[in-house]
């Protein structure tokens, strides 16, 4: 582990530290929050930083620090779910298209292109308005919207890798196409896939924030970073810190993943 870390480049290490910090906050939030993230206090609305409420309170008197811990968790969960769906489904589609080519490739990729033509947030918007909001719907909606970008990336890698001699050699040894795709070629797309997963993570965090900001993502009283931003928007001049805190954490989270994503690229640094 130590050696693995030392062998990464500087960008990756910086990103890794930031991301580890985020996960630490999620863990803390699971074990202990000073207040209930949804408990309101009529007497303490829109308070600044204080000893009682280290990061202040929002417009309903809820403790921002407690809500932040919950919000990071929700946002991370949604991003993780989204990217998992996108990467898994997208890799399988990309692998099939890239390896076999021909008619299935044409069909699937035209569907992907059609999906790609719409911004992912718009697709998610359609999905949510059809099936309802809430965090699991958001995961499903964003997950599907993320499939095309993964499919494209993986397809491109497969197109390049399938002509290499090690694949021909595997064919000559009588190894079946499914095994060649997933055991021979897939491991060689590792770097590119990891990099797109990390960058996808970012886009998912942003997309969730966007959806929640628009009010169709995570529903009250649950907290997510986007939800917190959206709620504090009205009070931006009265209590700027209630918007600044979730905003800052969002930026930090995205920075962490971006740096890691840049750092694992084969041509990084």
């Amino acid at each position: 582990m130590r050696e693995w870390f030392a062998n990464r480049n500087r960008l990756f290490r910086a990103g890794f530290v930031i991301t580890a910090l985020m996960f630490l906050l999620v863990l803390i939030g699971l074990v202990y929050t000073p207040y209930s993230p949804t408990a309101m206090d009529e007497g303490a609305k829109l308070m600044g930083f204080s000893l009682r409420h280290p990061l202040g309170t929002d417009h309903l008197g809820r403790d921002v620090y407690s809500r932040l811990l919950m919000g990071i968790r929700t946002t991370m969960l949604i991003a993780l779910g989204t990217v998992s769906i996108g990467a898994l489904v997208g890799s399988v589609i990309g692998a099939i298209c890239g390896y076999f080519g021909g008619i299935p490739d044409e069909l699937l990729m035209r569907v992907m292109d059609a999906m790609f033509a719409f911004p992912s947030i718009l697709l998610a918007l359609v999905f949510v308005s059809l099936f309802g909001s809430g965090r699991y719907h958001v995961i499903a909606a964003l997950g599907i919207a993320f499939v095309p970008s993964f499919a494209r990336t993986v397809r491109g890698e497969f197109l390049r890798e399938k002509n290499r001699d090690y694949v021909t050699s595997a064919v000559l040894h009588g190894i079946g196409p499914i095994r060649i795709m997933f055991f021979h070629i897939m491991p060689n797309t590792r770097d590119v896939l990891l990099s797109s997963v990390l960058i996808g993570f970012n886009n998912a965090v942003l997309a969730e924030a966007g959806l929640s900001f628009l009010g169709i993502g995570v529903q009250p009283p649950d907290a997510s970073l986007g939800r917190m931003l959206s709620e504090s928007q009205q009070y931006l001049f009265k209590a700027p810190m209630t918007a600044f805190v979730p905003g800052f954490v969002l930026v930090l989270m995205i920075l962490g993943f971006s740096l890691m994503g840049e750092g694992v690229r084969p041509d990084g640094e």
């Binding site: 090690y166 055991f183 021979h184 491991p187 060689n188």
Partner: protein
Amino acid sequence: MGNEQKRPLLQVEDLQIEFRDHKLPETAVHDFDLCLTRGEIVGIVGESGAGKSLSALAVAGLLKRHSVIRDGKILFEDTDLLHCDRETLRGFQGDEISVIFQEPMSSLNPVHRIGRQVEESLRIHHPDIDAAGRRSRALEALRSVGLSDAERVYDSYPHELSGGMRQRVMIAAAMIAEPKVLIADEPTTALDVTVQAQIISLLKEINRTKHTTILFISHDLSLVRQLCHRVIVMKDGRIVEEGETESLFVHPKAPYTQELIAAIPGIDRKIPVHNDNQIILHVSNLDAGYRELGHTRQILHDITFSLKAGEILGLAGESGSGKSTLARTILGLLTPMEGTIEKRDFRPAMVFQDPYGSLNPAHTVEWILTEALTGGRRRRERAAECRKAVIDAMEQVELPESFLARRPSELSGGQRQRVAIAEALISGPNVLIADEPVSALDVTVQTQIIALLEKLRTQAGIAILLIAHDLRVIYKVCDRVLIMRDGRIVESGDVEQVYFHPQEQYTRDLLRAAGV
């Protein structure tokens, strides 16, 4: 002229080059000395990683950012190129010192016309010459490198030219400003033998007519012998020997030089095993090719030949002659359009040219070999049996068992090719189809791999179809040879007969170019 010639044009003293990357050995080049006088051709030889290119590029001020010059002196006439400012250095680059590289494909910019690229150094160093002047200089330069159709080439894009033409264009671009020194970094390695010979005679011609000093870097000793006046032999970043070409080749002093010269293929030859073994493969009147979007591109025309058990059959020809397509068709990767392939107890396995590409970089040697053995259908209860077979295969290719845990990136080129051969052997074939198995390797490693193939034939009775563009390699081991050109077999027969009594002009050209 006499005095002028003795005066050094370029002088390099005690050059030390280091890699910035700490994973690699710290010093890449130690105490490199070089003295070039006007009109001289000096060769630098050595295997890959010996530091030949690094030293030469340092002279041109072209080191990449992962390597750095630690110490030393580079004097061009009276200017110190190491300690001058960037502007002065740029004034020399392309004007007084020009470089041509190995890959003519990647050294030319695909989006610009040839003419513009040839003129480039004039545009930079001689802004006083107008467009018409540049054009006439460029056309003249193109003609002088043997491109008689200069106008057409001038307006072409790189992809419209062949590899040999591209390399001529590169030479024209390098020579247009009439530099005093031309550094040629493996300029012929990516080219076919007949084209190689043309480029070598072109370099000789340039040297004779323009008195250009040439620094020629190559791993091919026979080319160096044909071209150079003086030779520097490098190994592991050090100069091991230096001297006049003929005396160095005839009386090499350093043991490493002796080894290199002994490894030049083609002088000795084992007596072929005449056998009346049964024919295991008979191909008759075969046509084959590729189908692309509706239309077919036929590559092979009317191929007829047979392969006997336990024989080594050479298949020679330039790139694009259809050698690899023939191999693919025999292996069943391509369906023949016409003709028949008869197989009797024909169990083939393939060895590829590039051991970097043929071994899956994501897995260990053991995984790769086990996968080939089981065809991807692994069974836990047969694990011990598999492991034994894997170890046996490693023994056959003379690699230690400890290598099983390594990944291809942790092996040298020769070791990789041994693993690739083990991978081929593990399924118990009686025929190896080896597509240029040694052309990506250094000469001393080539000799070892060829010896291994011969051993497999004599000890295990494995027949080999050896595809090679290097006629010397074929001469060394093959019983019979087929010469291919443009998808047809133009000549075939016992190696001795074909080499000493070639019937076709094309065969004679190939043999002459190979220096056999």
